[in-house]
């Protein structure tokens, strides 16, 4: 931790970054994002298992964009998110200074996104077999039972859009739900509007979601959105062999095709 603090302070002192996004402990003990602009604030810095939030989301925030150089403490999911954002041309070169702490508690400052790419390749996140098991359980049910399950889950959605707000990949300045000519998604949070919203979001995240499962963590209604993201991610991997957040170049499954993609469902 001391090493990390020193590093952040050093970056700030030498004006290599004008703001550093990290974590700190809030008044109530909850770990929350911290935005350090001066070296003497860095003592508040916190890094540990409780520091869950994917900080990559702040890269889009207009207030953060005002700073000329931004430093960010990234856990493995934030690294994947940043890499995917870079691939999608959402991050300017030489704008971000990305810092991570590896499993041996060593502080790493990445020189460029190629380094991040190789770091991610070496630090594969283990497939969460629990999630896959939940998905398989759901798939083994009859369609009607699955429908009942999701109607119950999604009906409770209050459309606070916390899932969208926390998502590093949801960076559109105007989201589909905010477009009303035509009104694609019902605004009210009745079940129809909720289904439309979540289906639309999943389709727009297909092969872009880096599966940090933040949406599931922050949902006030505890809707298991991670099941949807995990499902769509594993589909993408199985069908097209593509995983988001692994490469510096954009490899977007729905933006490309193979002539021999399977089509046994087409008549």
């Amino acid at each position: 931790m001391q090493e990390l603090n020193n590093k952040i302070a050093e970056l700030l002192t030498n004006n290599l970054v004008s703001i550093f996004i990290s974590y700190k402990k809030g008044l109530n003990g909850k770990i929350k994002p911290a935005f350090f602009t001066k070296p003497n604030e860095v003592y508040e810095n916190y890094f540990g298992d409780e520091a869950q939030q994917n900080l990559a989301v702040y890269v889009h925030k207009p207030e953060v964009k005002k700073y000329s150089k931004v430093g960010i403490l990234a856990n493995i999911f934030a690294l994947k998110a940043l890499l995917q954002l870079y691939a999608e041309n959402q991050i300017k070169d030489n704008y971000l200074t990305i810092v991570t702490v590896n499993q041996d508690n060593k502080v790493i400052v990445f020189a460029d996104f190629n380094e991040i790419e190789s770091y991610i390749a070496q630090h594969q996140i283990e497939k969460n077999t629990n999630k896959q098991k939940e998905i398989n359980e759901l798939l083994s049910l009859s369609r009607e039972k699955r429908w009942e399950f999701w109607v119950e889950q999604l009906s409770s959605c209050i459309k606070c859009y916390a899932c969208r707000a926390i998502c590093p990949m949801c960076y559109c300045s105007k989201c589909t739900v905010e477009l009303n000519q035509p009104q694609w998604i019902s605004v009210p949070a009745h079940s129809l509007g909720n289904f439309e919203w979540h289906i639309m979001r999943m389709m727009h995240l297909a092969c872009r979601c880096i599966n940090c499962q933040e949406c599931s963590r922050v949902c006030p209604m505890n809707i298991p959105l991670h099941l949807l993201t995990t499902k769509i991610n594993s589909d993408m991997e199985e069908e097209f062999g593509q995983i988001a957040g692994m490469k510096t170049t954009l490899d977007f499954a729905l933006n490309t095709f193979k002539v021999d993609d399977y089509e046994n469902f087409i008549r």
């Binding site: 809030g26 994002p33 939030q53 605004v187 009745h190 963590r217």
Partner: protein, 342 residues
């Protein structure tokens, strides 16, 4: 700003073991009974089915009981096309509702909410719901670091806004304070379950929530805080979702949307949040509150400043829900302390 007043009409006791019976009797009488239920980390209010689903172990429900008066989506009017013109009908709210297990702060929150909706141009759906809703409050035995009811002039023993207030006084007994006619009526309908009791001092049975900030000082100085730099710094984590507003018992903002097919449709009212960027966006593209710190400031100042001017009361009841639910760890207490410090 003490708002603990309220006249208690009667005192009773209820055996905790009889709660099941009480609930079932209410259910049998055809009324809608909302009780706290748990789903993962979320506690929310839902219709009573079975005593085993009812959750008692919670500091505060994740979602406030405001939907009893102000549901997340409700119909304002419905219309049908008829020979070139429209037939417009109003919805009816038939069912009597009883909410069990809300906290004393929630009852005050719902009172604020209904006062707000019923002042001047009275809102008919809220009024009908209010008339048909009985609130059975459960005084808090526990609290957490996000509770701050005492800082806004309330306490776990407040009875304001409640119809009946239950306090667990040990020995398997609830001490019931019956505050309103509605509460009296409900008790009368189930009188066999309640025994008469003397007035007792509840203080020793309820949680002692420590003071987090001085609200009198805050109200006095709130006008000076508008231009504080703290808004920008403190709102940096805010991501502009509506979670805080949607779980808040006193957030009243809403949106009106039409849903229709070519034949008929409804005009629906749904919750909206001042944290959303498009909340204030003009059709011209001009946005009066263009950045998140403006929106965060508006929310905090509304709770502690604007509603004091407009309604002579704070519109924050210290339930701490917005703090617990915030995806980015925003904390209204921290903001207030920072403002007061400066």
């Amino acid at each position: 700003m003490k708002i603990l007043s309220g006249k208690i009409m009667n005192y009773k006791t209820l055996k905790i073991d009889n709660l099941d019976l009480f609930f079932n009797e209410i259910k049998k009488s055809g009324k809608n009974l909302l009780v706290p239920k748990k789903k993962g980390k979320t506690t929310y209010f839902s219709s009573f089915i079975n005593i085993n689903d009812v959750e008692f172990n919670y500091i505060q429900t994740t979602i406030s009981p405001k939907s009893a008066l102000f549901p997340k989506v409700e119909e304002l009017i419905s219309f049908k096309k008829d020979d070139g013109t429209y037939v417009v009908t109003e919805p009816s709210i038939e069912k009597e509702t009883i909410v069990f297990g809300l906290r004393p702060c929630d009852a005050v929150g719902l009172e604020y909410l209904s006062n707000f909706f019923l002042n001047e141009k009275s809102d008919f759906t809220v009024r009908l719901r209010k008339e048909n809703t009985t609130l059975i409050t459960l005084a808090c035995k526990n609290f957490d670091e996000n509770c701050f009811c005492t800082s806004v002039g309330l306490s776990p023993a407040s009875i304001k806004g409640s119809d009946i207030c239950l306090t667990d006084i040990g020995n398997g007994l609830f001490y019931a304070e019956i505050i309103t006619d509605k509460g009296e009526k409900l008790i009368a309908e189930h009188s066999a379950l309640f025994s008469n009791a003397e007035k007792i001092n509840k203080e020793s049975y309820v949680a002692q929530v420590p003071l987090k900030f001085d609200s009198d000082n805050l109200i006095k100085n709130i006008k000076n805080y508008y231009n504080s730099e703290k808004w920008t710094i403190n709102s940096l984590p805010c991501l502009g979702c509506g979670a805080c507003a949607f779980v808040c018992p006193t957030c009243t903002c809403f949106n009106i949307e039409d849903e229709a097919n070519p034949v008929c449709g409804t005009r629906l009212r749904c919750w909206d949040s001042c944290a959303f960027g498009i909340f204030t966006l003009h059709a011209s593209g001009h946005n009066p509150r263009p950045i998140q710190s403006n929106r965060w400031r508006h929310r905090v100042l509304h709770k502690f400043g604007y509603s004091v001017t407009n309604m002579d009361t704070l519109s924050c009841v210290g339930c701490g829900r917005c703090i617990r639910v915030c995806p980015a760890g925003m904390n209204i207490i921290e903001q207030i302390l920072d403002l007061q410090e400066a």
